[in-house]
């Protein structure tokens, strides 16, 4: 077994093995381990950082867009509310105006009605009074013709009134 033999008797190549191993491994360590590896790791780190930064930027942009949308929604809500308020106010005012006008017309009509009613009452009163005096005259005439006695005008009037008004 050459691997064991070199450690015991037949060891002419042990020194060469160790020498070349140390030379080659030292070369690999210095050139690749110390020279190339840190550069490759730096590239990977730079990429990781870039990806992280880009992700953070995208997140920030997303948040900004969300904020913008929220403020837009808020604004449109506010303007819609304002519009609704204006419409409601206009409606309210119109209703109040109509009511006022209606009330005014109502009052005028009421006044007219009252005046007309008063006229009717006055006419009725005067007519009633005329009926009373005519009835009293007729009653006193009837009494005079039937019994020959004259009745005082006032008595006749009272009697007629009593009959007329129950």
């Amino acid at each position: 077994m050459p691997q064991i033999a070199q450690l015991t008797a037949d060891n002419w190549y042990l020194a060469s093995q160790l020498f070349w191993l140390l030379v080659v491994f030292a070369g690999i360590y210095i050139v690749i381990g110390r020279g190339m590896l840190p550069k490759i790791e730096a590239t990977v780190d730079a990429r990781d950082r870039k990806v992280a930064d880009d992700l953070a930027a995208a997140k920030a942009a997303h948040a900004a867009a969300d904020n913008l949308e929220a403020s837009y929604v808020q604004q449109s809500d506010a303007s819609r509310a304002a519009a609704q308020k204006a419409v409601a106010e206009a409606k309210d005012k119109a209703a109040r105006d109509a009511e006022k006008r209606l009330a005014k017309v109502d009052a005028e009509l009421g006044e007219k009605l009252a005046g007309a009613e008063a006229d009717v009452a006055a006419a009725r009163k005067s007519a009633m009074a005329e009926i009373e005096s005519v009835a009293a005259d007729a009653a006193s005439d009837l009494v005079a013709k039937l019994s020959g006695t004259t009745v005082a005008a006032a008595d006749a009037k009272a009697a007629v009134k009593a009959v007329l008004h129950g």
Partner: protein
């Protein structure tokens, strides 16, 4: 263990052969061997793979994504096991993981078809043992550097009743000292066993077709070949898993040194 002609020696693939370029280093002759060649090939392949991931684009292409998958895998493992302080040790664990993974996978390449001689660097205990010792040394240095002698409290797990300490501490100490051996042995054994098994089965395939009773030999060969396909797939899995286990255990041991308990 010289192979007789016509016999297939499953251990031959682990032989180290010199390719020249020797020089003297402190009394020891250092040669450029096939083992060294495959380490260099693994390092170059790893370098090319990593270079393809260096385009540093914001949106990665396929290659860059593959490289970043590996680096992300190791750095997230370090983060999970050690915490934010683990970043300091990521270069070492990453180098370890990628070197072992590439060595394992390159050793699996069917280059014998092209007449080349593939060699699995990690199937040598000398290699895996040194890597394990480096990890262990880092644990010791970091542990004593950060915690001083307080590092020895690692051998007394949190909440141990006082009478149990004399019994627990030696056990913990032994299990701590065994770590570099188990770490190195595990990889070496897994790689060696897999390659030996594949080589034995390929020996069955060849010898079956060369058998005197050809019909029986053919059945053995075909069955062995089907088994080889399955085991090759399994070995690819083992190549990844063993690299991962080595890196994972190293990160856990470093975590002990950094955070104690």
């Amino acid at each position: 263990m010289a192979a007789e002609p016509g016999k297939i020696d499953p251990m031959h693939q682990f032989e180290v052969t010199p390719l020249g370029g020797g020089f003297n280093l402190g009394g020891q002759e250092v040669l450029f061997t096939n083992s060294a060649l495959w380490m260099v090939i693994a390092a170059v392949a790893l370098g090319i793979f990593m270079w393809g991931g260096m385009r540093r684009q914001l949106v990665p292409g396929r290659w860059q994504a593959a490289v970043e998958g590996f680096t992300g895998f190791i750095s997230s493992m370090m983060m999970a096991n050690i915490g934010s302080e683990g970043r300091k040790y990521t270069p070492y664990v990453f180098s370890l993981f990628m070197f072992i993974l590439f060595s394992n996978l390159l050793g699996m390449l069917p280059l014998g078809v092209l007449g080349l001689k593939p060699f699995t660097v990690t199937s040598h205990i000398a290699i895996t043992g040194v890597l394990a010792l480096i990890s262990f040394a880092i644990v010791l240095v970091v542990g004593f550097w950060r915690h001083g002698l307080h590092f020895f409290s690692l051998f007394v797990p949190h909440g141990t009743p006082l009478p149990m300490v004399p019994i627990i501490a030696p056990i913990e100490f032994v299990s701590f000292m065994v770590r570099p051996f188990s770490l190195g042995l595990r990889l070496f054994v897994a790689m060696t066993a897999g390659h030996v098994l594949l080589k034995v089965l390929s020996g069955f395939v060849i010898n079956g077709f060369n058998a005197e009773t050809l019909w029986l030999g053919s059945i053995v060969s075909v069955l062995s070949f089907i088994l080889m396909i399955g085991i090759s797939a399994l070995e690819l899995l083992v190549a990844g898993i063993q690299a991962y286990v080595f890196a994972l255990l190293t990160s856990l041991y470093i975590n002990d040194a950094v955070n104690l308990h």
